[in-house]
Symmetry: D3
Subunit: 248 residues, 6 copies
């Protein structure tokens, strides 16, 4: 199986984190293609930045989807994922929806731990729009700054682990999602210290993408998520123009 | 008051409809600046197309917001509106949220009438994400095609009026939103034939934008809708780069 | 435009606060008619008191609606507003629904700040019944008593401002509604001290009433908010008798 | 036990229906006091009429509550019930909440059958505000007029029974509430023809009132449903004045 | 009336508490039959234990239902209650749904107080599945262990009373449910110390069971709660086999 | 990986269907152990039957879990799944939650198609209790009887396919879940005839179980889904006794 993984941000260091965790999580025969946004921000923290990342993701997906079986947009908050599900013929999953589906199957209620206070509002909103806020018990985010988004998980490991424990002991979480590509891989490293399952966004997305790919679901030919009706357009980058205008 | 009105689609004929209805609805002293997306589709019908329109809208707002008091993104479905509320210092409203707020104040439950079947799923989702689906009673859309989005309201006037009557008599609507910039102005023309209030998206957005502008609300300096924290970025068009990177 | 403004309470000092803020918020050509309840309490704090204020408001509206274009019931909690929307042919808005619609358009989630602890339960219930509790982030009310409802905003200004800051810093409010006619005008005075928009109930109600009035929506002739079917009645004050029995 | 039963409408013929069914449903030792609104309409069909009935009910309760153990406001839609729970020291129940609690305990989802189309919107809203709309499966109401509200259950018996069958066979109702005091007693008469439990509003309210009375719950001395804080008032009928101003 | 009361746990000491409170709450002519689970745990604290208690309850009900008018499953969390409503021809109520219906009729929002922290998650889930979580304000449970489930109410009386006061003063509860059969009778003993109604699970269940029994509702012959369609089965204890296979 | 698959019903023919589809869906190295309930019904259609199947499933799981990495309870409606998540140390998934998580990741809203009308109410309730009813668009079930649950998918293939098309064309489904173990494998056979993804319960459960197993999530040692606190018990079958009493 060939999985196209999009980093909707410009951070090459985060792309490396994503690629490593993706490879580690994938089945032996799975091939990972990693693509990084050519424009945008270092990491998406707000709906405004997500709108930029969504557009960058759609352009990358349109350019590179060919010969892939499934795609992953590897930022929490799932920028562009709903749009991509409709525009592409292959399944596309986001980090939030994959982590949340994993928590849903593990059972009970989940907490989310992330890299800033500000980013929490967007995550809460994302889970709400997915329809699963009744299963979410709370968000905890770093209050301190960090030197680099590529190393924040090393810089703040102790604080992040303490936040996980607080999610269990104070909030009653039955599982915890370590949110955001910059935390890829951390779940494995601190799992022994936390008494409930820790869910890695990238790892769960790869496994969920493989589950969908193996399911061999046919593209939608009807309904609200089938390709948009053909209509006039202009100024769209080539791949995107083809996706939007292809329905007969 | 100066209102910047964005058509997130490429249709100049629809921009004319919007401009006319906006002028008609505005207070005597209000100035309307009309801007049309330089790239995108003829009219947004799906989340995929909305992601394109959102990015185009943010670029136009970033370029032209200076010296305006408030902005309107004049497409139903409110592409880019949440992002724009955060990125800009002036209030920004969408057609859906303005029409829905008007229906909310008129009381009871509202129906939405639009120009296609396909577009309905996106409208339902938009109202749901605004948090007001408990006040929405249903959607009815044209089942027939049309020659031009700029003339669809003339082409299909009788059918649209019949759909409004069905919303009242079969669905129990207490008011009806005529959705989408292509229907701008139709509400005035068929109001006498329908026994509940008809709400025009463009007209209600202009009046709501004026209400916010007259309220003189200060820009947010804190919280989830204040400008995003400064961070590294690249490849963003000039205005957008300034908006995203401006918080100290 | 002529707006009939009802104070559903007996406090003439509060009627003066309302009138002043209404005049200040209104468009140049708008005429304000102020009416004060002849029976009831000093200020409504509970559902029991609201049932009294609702009946007093309906009587006043029935007596004085003629020659007005729109009406405002100027108490938070919106006593009698749903009933009045149905009974009258002109649009009627309440302070809660107008403030909440304004917060809805400004975006994100709002907090409410009010003059007592007790009154909070009623406000929460009102927002819930309007269908917008998903956009409300919390209520904070004065814990101290006050000498007079007409001067509470001067007496407790510092505490009220601190409560606003707590709504932002501790609760994450994106805007704050200063609830209740006794706080009319306070928003303007402390806006510079609070980093998110402050919404005045009276000011927002006047602007929303004008928006509806300018929309020129026709009275409902069908459905759940059209005038009630004619039926036997007795003992009703004249205006009210006419409103209830008028449908042919 | 002594139960005060309020008919918030002026129809003496309906008061007789209520009294008869109340006596039949009550325990041997229970005494029923029946009181009929001195002003208002023949039967409440809308929120506007309910605001009138709420005020009439509160006046009657304030005058006659002494020496009663519990009170029932005997109109569907529960006009004034929330207010009365707060103002009175004895428990007060409405027909809707009692019937709905009975359906809740019988299990599954309930339908409501009533005497007009128009009245349905108000009933739906009442159940929604009680927080139990997830257990309600639909409303069906008479489409025909009737000669008298006191005899509608005889006039339309066949149609009402057919509507009950449609609730089961087409809507999937697990129980059916026959709504409104004018239908008091009908459930017993057509129960054999309908394959799910039929719930009588008056009968279930009497039994629920007795259950609360036997529970001997103490009056609330704290919180949002305790008596309202003492404050200035004027123009209130004697009993009501005493209720509103009694908290020290 | 004859009420079959099931203790789905093996604790005979708790059966005695239940029997005593049931007798005390019942009408003079009511006969109580008490049955204790022959297998299971000392007291149900989790969904896993509830699945065991549900099966034990169904076996007991199937064996002993004959000649009873109504049944009560006397454990909070209502193990097996939904199943029993469908399988039996007589009404069956649980402690949670009866207490919650009582709180619903008393008005406002209720808190639940119980005997352990762990048990709270299951209670919250039960109320949520009943559809009434909008009326629940919170749960507080003992943090300390106890010597015996039959004497926990004596051992921890002071702490339980303090938790009730905290529900009122800190959480804003309008009534409090003392949850779980091991607390049967405690409400009467500490009612004077708490300023809102205290609801006893066993007492409210008996009164609600009597209300349903007196309503004389016919068994369901159609729909989702009528007896299950006849189908092949094996290995079921005699009474249960008859219940599951009886529909023609 | 070793997966223990439980058929909570007594039908060996359905166990064969499950085993075949499970083997086909599994990764090359996965081993499937199939276990069939020794007591219960031919197929679970109602909550009453599900309570029996839940207990049978827990007994089988307790007996056979050793040396497995993950377990599947292979009946739609997920009997015993919540209990098993808590009692076992290995992940346990149900058919409903796995199919629903798959539909959630494919995007949009799903419909469910099943083998009887009656079973629909239980499926709707199951999805509601999982917290995902906002993503479910409807249920359609066979109205006709069938000769054998092991051959119903052959007997009714044409009708089932027509129901799928109706879900898309009339209800607007974006994906369809073919519900119930008796339909295992049908999705593959009729996928070409339906223009949206068809989701097989058994296949999606196996893939989701593998995703959880590969995630190597540690057992919960704290919180509402950790093993229940040790307490007295009696009469439990050996494996179950060990699971319930094992926490120190």
């Amino acid at each position: 199986m060939k999985i196209l993984v999009i980093n909707p941000n410009i951070s090459l260091s985060v792309s490396e984190l994503i690629r490593n965790e993706a490879q580690r999580a994938a089945l032996p025969g799975t091939q990972i293609t990693m693509a990084t946004a050519p424009f945008g921000v270092a990491y998406i923290e707000t709906p405004g930045e997500a709108a930029v990342g969504a557009y960058a993701s759609l352009q990358l997906l349109a350019q590179q989807q060919a010969e892939h079986d499934v795609a992953v947009i590897a930022a929490f908050g799932d920028p562009g994922v709903t749009a991509a599900k409709e525009l592409l013929d292959i399944p596309v999953v986001g980090l939030t929806e994959s982590a949340v589906a994993t928590a849903f199957l593990l059972g009970g209620r989940f907490a989310i731990v992330g890299i800033s206070q500000r980013i929490g509002a967007w995550y809460v909103q994302t889970v709400d729009q997915l329809g699963l806020s009744s299963r979410m018990i709370g968000y905890r985010g770093l209050q301190q700054g960090f030197a680099s988004v590529g190393t924040v998980q090393q810089e703040a490991r102790d604080v992040l682990r303490e936040m996980c424990l607080a999610c269990v002991e104070q909030d009653g979480a039955d599982s915890i999602i370590l949110a955001g590509a910059p935390l890829a891989g951390l779940a494995r490293e601190i799992a022994d210290d936390v008494p409930v399952p820790l869910i890695d966004g990238v790892g769960s997305a790869i496994r969920m993408a493989e589950a969908l790919g193996r399911g061999a679901y046919a593209p939608r030919r009807n309904g609200a998520l089938s390709p948009p009706p053909r209509k006039a357009h202009q100024g769209l980058e080539g791949g995107l123009a083809m996706l939007i205008g292809r329905q007969p």
